[in-house]
Every structure is written in C-alpha cells, then in structure tokens.
C-alpha cells in the first residue's frame, strides 16, 4: 500500500494494517448478515457501511488518498461478493419466496445474476478501472462526484467511463 501518512511510526502502521484487516473482516460479516435473510425490506446502505468503516481507519491515522482508494476498492469487492451471493441464495430459494425477484431499476428488465458476475469478471480483464467503477457505483452506491473525488479525477471523466462501462455490460448481457 502506497503513501503512508506523515510522521506515522512503524507501530501505528502495523496498528493500521491490523485495524484495516479487522474492518474488512467486519465488513464481510456485516454484508453477510445483512443479506442472509430474504426480507422484502432489504434496504441497506452499503455506502454508509463502508464510509463508517473508513472513518474508523481515518480516525486512527489520517488516511492518505491512496489508502482510501485501496480501502474502497477492497470494500466494494467484499460487498459485491456478498450481494451476489445473497442474490444467488435468493434465486435458489425462490420457491419459498416468490416475491423476491431481482428487478432492475426504473423499468429495466431483470438480469441474470450469474451472467452479471461473469461479465464483471470479464470486464476486469479488459478494464480494471471500469470494473472497479462498476463495483463502487453498483455495490457501494458511491455517486459519480464521490468517485471522482476518491479517484481525484474530473467528474466528466468518471461519468464518461461509467457510461462506457454500462454500455459494455449491456452488450454482454443483452438478451439473445
């Protein structure tokens, strides 16, 4: 991990790493717990979750931007995994919970979870940046300006990349 904070001694760096490890662990548990149940009201806010976890790390030693990016990338991965798992589980138990269907937002047709996951894996190979952007956007719920700030890029750049990524996913997942 690059760019450690000024004046940070080795002891606190070790502490920070331990803290990060524990935060990720908790994040994983949190996501798993949140998604384990098939409740109709699963309105979680992973953004808050990740931000809160970040706050704890930041409080301990001022987190550098690089750390932040790394942190969010990891957090997003964790949440993506948890949510995809949850959706798979729901699918598996659909018989018991007919009301659970993964609908896209705003009239989008539904999509196939396995296909999405596979597409994301492929996107990673093509453009890791875009894959991460999709994770941050889809699974953490960070807004474009937030991602722009995190990545220290212009909003228009992020917006453009986001759109390109969605077009790419759309083509991958297009109904045959």
């Amino acid at each position: 991990m690059a760019g450690q904070g000024d004046g940070m001694g080795p002891a606190s760096a070790a502490d920070r790493d331990a803290m990060l490890a524990s935060v990720y662990d908790e994040l994983r548990q949190a996501a798993a717990r949140l998604l384990r149940r098939e409740a109709p009201f699963l309105t979680i806010q992973p953004t808050e979750l990740v931000n809160e976890a970040a706050l704890r790390v930041i409080r301990m030693d001022r987190m550098t931007w690089a750390d932040r990016q790394h942190f969010f990338a990891t957090g997003a991965r964790i949440l993506r995994q948890a949510m995809i798992d949850a959706i798979r589980q729901r699918r598996a138990r659909k018989r018991q919970a007919p009301d659970v269907a993964i609908a896209g937002m705003d009239g989008d047709p539904g999509f196939d979870v396995e296909a999405l996951d596979a597409a994301l894996v492929r996107l990673e190979a093509v453009s890791p940046d875009m894959a991460q952007l999709v994770e941050l956007r889809f699974f953490v719920g960070l807004s474009v300006p937030e991602i722009a700030e995190l990545w220290q890029e212009s909003e228009s750049t992020v917006k453009r990349r986001w759109k390109a990524a969605r077009l790419w996913l759309a083509s991958e997942l297009q109904p045959i």
């Binding site: 949140l34 228009s156 990524a165 997942l173």
Partner: protein, 786 residues
Amino acid sequence: MMSAEMRALAIVEEALGHDDAGDRTRLVLALCGDDAGLRARVEHLLALDGGDAPFLHTESFVRAFGLDDVVADRIGPYRVTGEIARGGMGTVVKAERDDGLFQQTVAIKLIRGDIATDAARERFAEERRMLARLRHPSIVRILDGGEHDDRPWLAMDFIDGLPVTEALARAQAPKSQRLAAFGAICEAVAHAHRALVIHADIKPGNVLMSDDGAVHLLDFGIARLVDDIGREVGHTPSPLTRAYAAPERGGGAPPTVASDVFGLGMLMVEMLAGRAPIGDLACVPGTRLPAGWLQGDLAAIAGRALAVAPEARYPDVAGLIEDLRRLGAHLPVRARSNPPWRYVAGLFVRRHRRGLALTGALIAMLAATSVVSTLFYWRADAERTEAEARFADARGAARYMIGTLMPRLESMPGALRLRAETAAAAQVYLERLSSSREASDEVRIETADGLLRLAQVQGRAGRPNLAQPERAEANLRKAEALLTPMEGPAARTLLAHVLYERVGLAAWMKGDQADAERLAERADAVFRSLPAPGPALTRSRARVLADLRGWQGRFADEIALADAGLTLIGPGASFEDGMDRFHLLGAKAEGVYYSGDTRQSLAIYRERLAFVQALRRQRPDDPFLRGAATVAAWEMAMNLMELKRTDEALAVLGPAETDAVAAVAFDPADDEAQRRLRVVRNARAQALGLNGQTDAALALLAQVRAEDARRQAADPTPRRTRDLVFDHVLVGEALDAAGRKREACAADGETLRLYDALSRRGLVMALDMANNVKLVKERLARNCPR
C-alpha cells in the same frame, strides 16, 4: 499490448464525451482507422446508448434490494383481509382468524427480519411471550405471533378507533373527559413499567380511542422487540417523533421511564390544550411546556412531566398518576413542591436505566442506515457481555423495585394493587438472580435480602402487607436456602433475620405456634453462633420472640424480651427505631396486661398511644402510622374497658374508628386496614354493651360479623376463620352483659362449637384457650339452664 476489447472500450469512453452524433462518428472513424472489427465493436456499443438494454438506467443495486413488500394471503391461522399501514419497520395488515375455533379480527404486524440472527429471533420470541403477558384493559394485547417466510409477525387486537387527540376533538370532549382519558393512558403505561416494559414512543398515533371512549395503547414494547431484532446491528437513535421525544433522546440516550414520562407530558398537553406542541414555541423555563397553554395545577403537572432535565421530572408514572389523583381530589399536587424522594429515584433511573428499560436502546423503527454502527458491536465476547449486562440489570431492577419503589408506593392512595404487581415483577427478577449460576456470594446475599423484604411486603403483620403469607413463606424459604451454605457474618446475620421473619409469619399470619417455636429455636441457634450480633438483629429478635411468647401465654418472658429490646433504642432515635419502640412497648404492655396488672399496663398503653401520635405529627401523610395509632387506641380502650372505664374507652375508640374507615377508603385492598376496622368496631360494640346500649352493640356486631363472614368465604385463611369465631364470642358477651340469658346461652353454645371445630384443625392458640374459650365456658355455665 492492448487487446482489441480494451481499445474498443477506450474509444467508446472518449466518444461518449461528445454529445453531437456527427462529432462522435468522426472521432470513432479517426480512432479506429482501418480496423473494421474494432470499428464494428465500438459502433455496436455506442448504438446501445439511449436504448433499453439491461443496466443502462441502473445507477446502483443498493436500492435494488428494496423490493415491494408482498404480503401473503395467510399468516399463521389468520386470513389477511386488508392493509392498514406500511412503514420502515414493516407492514401492518388487517386479518381474520377463521380456523373454525374463533372468529376474531386482528391487526398483524410483519416485522422486518432481514437483519436478525437466530439468537435475536429467539429473544424476539421470548420477549413476545413476555409482552403477551402484559394484560391491561388499555393496552392492546399481543395475541399471537410466529414467523412467516422468515419474518417475525405479531397479531394484536384490532382496534376500530381514532388517534386520541382526534377523537377528543371530534367529540368536543370536556376537560373532565380529557383528563380521565389521559389518566387511563397513564395507568396503562405505569402497568407496563411495573412489568419493566418501556413504551418509548408515546404519541397520539399510538393511542387510539374507540367509539365507547375507551383508550387503547398500541405498540407497547414493540420498540423493544424491534430493538432485539436489530441488536446485532447495534444501537441507533430511533426515528423519533420529534415533538414527542424527550430532549435527552435527541442526544441518543436510550429510552427510560423518564422519557416515557416526558412523552406522557406531551400527550397531556395536546389532549388538554387541543393542539399539538409542534414548532418553535416559547416554553416555560426548564421545561418543554408551551407557555400559556395550560394553567394552574395542570400546568404544574405537565411542566414537571416535561422538565428538560430527566431527574426533575416525576420519577415514574406512578408519581404523575398520584398528582392527577390529587388534582381530582382537590389536594395540593406534588408537582408544586419538591418531594424528597424525587432525587433518589431520579438517580436510580440514571444509573440503572438499562435495567428499567430492560434494554439499552429501544428502537421504534430501524432506519436503513442503522447498520452504520454495527461494526462496534460485533466482538467475540459480545454474548458474554450481554449476559453480564442483563444480569446486572436484573439485580439493579430488583433493588430499585424493592428498595425504592415499594416503600414509596406504601404512602400512595390505592397503591396496594400496584404494590402487588411491583412485587410480582420484583419476584421475577429475584428468581432469575437466585437461579443464576453466575451469582457471587455478594449477589446471593443481596438476593436473599430482596426476598426477605419482598416477603415482608407480602405478609408481615402490623405493616401494610399484601396478605400473601404463602408467597412470603416461599420467598423466606428460598432466602434461607441461598444463605444456609454461606459462612460469613453478613450471610449468617441475614439468615437469622430470615428465620425470625419466618417465626413471625408462622405465629401471626399462619397461626402455627408449634412451627413458630421450632423456627425460633433454629433462629436462636444461628443468633447465638454469631460472634457479635448487631443491634438491629437483636431488636428484631426481641420483637419477634416477645410476640411469640405473648401468643404462647408466656407473659413474663414477653415482658423481659420487650424490656431487653427497649433498652437497645437510645433517645432521639430514628424513625425506624421509633417503629421498633412502638412495637416493643406494645409487647410489654400486652405482657403486663395479660399478667393481670391492668393499671400498670394502661399506663404503658397510654405512653404508647402518645408516642405514636407524636410520630404522626412528624409524618401526617404516613398511612402506616394512622394504622398504628388505631391499634394503639384499640389496645388502650380494651384496657380501659377492663377497668370499667367505658366512657373513656368510647372516647378513645371514636377517632380510632374514623381513622380505620379512612384507611379502608384509602386502599380497599389493604387487608390490614380491613382487619383494623373490624377490631375497632368490635371494641366499640363491646364498650357500648358494657355501657348498657345493648341493641346498638348488637347491631354493630352484626355488621362486623357479616363483613367478616364475607371475607372468610372469599378466602378462608386461618386468621380470617379465627376472626369470625371471635366475632361470635362478643355477641355472647353483649347478651350476657344485658342479662339476656337464653340468647347468651344459645350464642355461646354456637361459639364453643366453632372453637371446637377450630381446635380440631389446630387453629386454636394458647391465648384463645386461656381467655376466650375460658370466658365462653364461664358464661355458658352461668346462662344455660342446668
């Protein structure tokens, strides 16, 4: 080396920077050059823009999980017939039970269960059962519950009504009706608090008024249930109804008795002023009472409930109810003064709010963002900490109820039933403590002490008690079992206290002298084994044993024990010491009286009556002292009658009967008060008979006997049975004094028959034999034809 797909994506990204179609095309052509495959791929991707392919309009999946809440047609044995409301916590539907057993309309709350662990669900089920036991006419009952599709649900009474403020407005209800409705709500909340359930969200929407004017509190403890579900997710401030939330809750403090008192204050303002205290209002300083909305005592009461500082509020809803009663009875309300107990209780509430609320945070509706603080609560040892916290709560709650709440309830009108309920709640906590494997010796001693005090409340004669000798006995036995294996002096001293309490209970409440004697020997054995028994124990021993010796007719011993006890009480002693002195003077006087020196005993009785009247002047409101004065007057009057000074006796008995009547009116459930009234009336009848007013005497005796027969039939305790037989003794006496020999013979014959029956059941005491039975036999010999 960039793959074709990478290049395609990079070109698409760049092309998207141009909104104009012509610009885009030119850019794509320039960047793709002569790579037709690349160009086709780029154009394919760009062609999707603006279409309806998957994801193009998806911003985030985070909200995609907020699916519609589809409610099943059937939940448990209920058929869903309609929707009542939906909110962040879940959905409320109307449903019918139609399984052929009952026809019943219910409201079913489906609670979000998405975040609950199995442990939390188990607690949910446990707490639901606890809430189901919350029975009060003004609390909407939880009827049933379970899980449906992994979602916990609760079925409760369906109430056809309006929010109370709306119903009152529509009915244009007068102030008296508004106050009555508010009082009923307070009673319901107080009832729940005694069961250690905090409402946490008192507001008009949660209080419905049906057409018949009855109020129904909704969602009692639901907050708690939801919190338990959400415990894994940590503590979050609930989305409180801001206008109704106590100020400290805004700072994230957990709901407490004090915050419910505040919620009631807000409700009171809205119910009486007819408008909602919402918005930026000028308030009475130190309170959230809008200035000028209420006047006089109403303003004082609401202001105290709405004090910004929790410790300045009524310490509990019972205090609020007391003031409402005082208001109704045109007595000065306490809100205008500063009761000394307030601070103590306030302190407790602060220190033990967890115990009182049963939980640290009651969350009415779990906001989506609540996951924020989860992370802080997931620790490997969370379970253990939780168990410890609950344990400490049980201890604190029991201590509060027995040490602070119960004594205070003693001086509240009509509080006996409340005391019984409080005692029952305390009992639950003490059971939990005494059966806990975690308990240290210290906790066991404290638990035993709690059990002893509870037993005193349940059945200590001569104090306001609940007439529950069996429960008292059971608790004393439990305390004994806890203490017996322990060695230290504190445990041994307490054990002696417990055993002496059992002596008193056996002798006085149960009338079992043999058992009392055996217990006294055991108690004395413990007492003697103590290296240095304290003065409190020594005095308790003297008091209990003096009484016992009196019952056994060993009056010299009674006097000696009483004198020994009296020497332990110094001058200028405390109130509690005063109570012991009063008791010991009584024992001494009794011993002297029954020894035959009725002049000396009269002097002691006179001293005793003067002493208790002096105490009463110190504490005019104390209902116990009123009872004590009645007893002292009665005993002195009996002594006066013995000396044939019937006029003086009647003069003493008049005010005593007035006091006794007032005591019964003060709390009709007070067994001791009823007993005192019958004793005083019997004495006055005796005095009237001795004074030649035989018919008046017989009429009064008949009144007492009818009342005693009713009480005995309702609950044939040994004491009530003995009381009823004693009533018969007096009838014979009055007839004998009037020279109506034939009637006296018949009455006394019946009395002796009753004593025989009592004797066969082992209920006749030495004192009965030596005095009453002997008297009756003498009269029979005199009045019956040979």
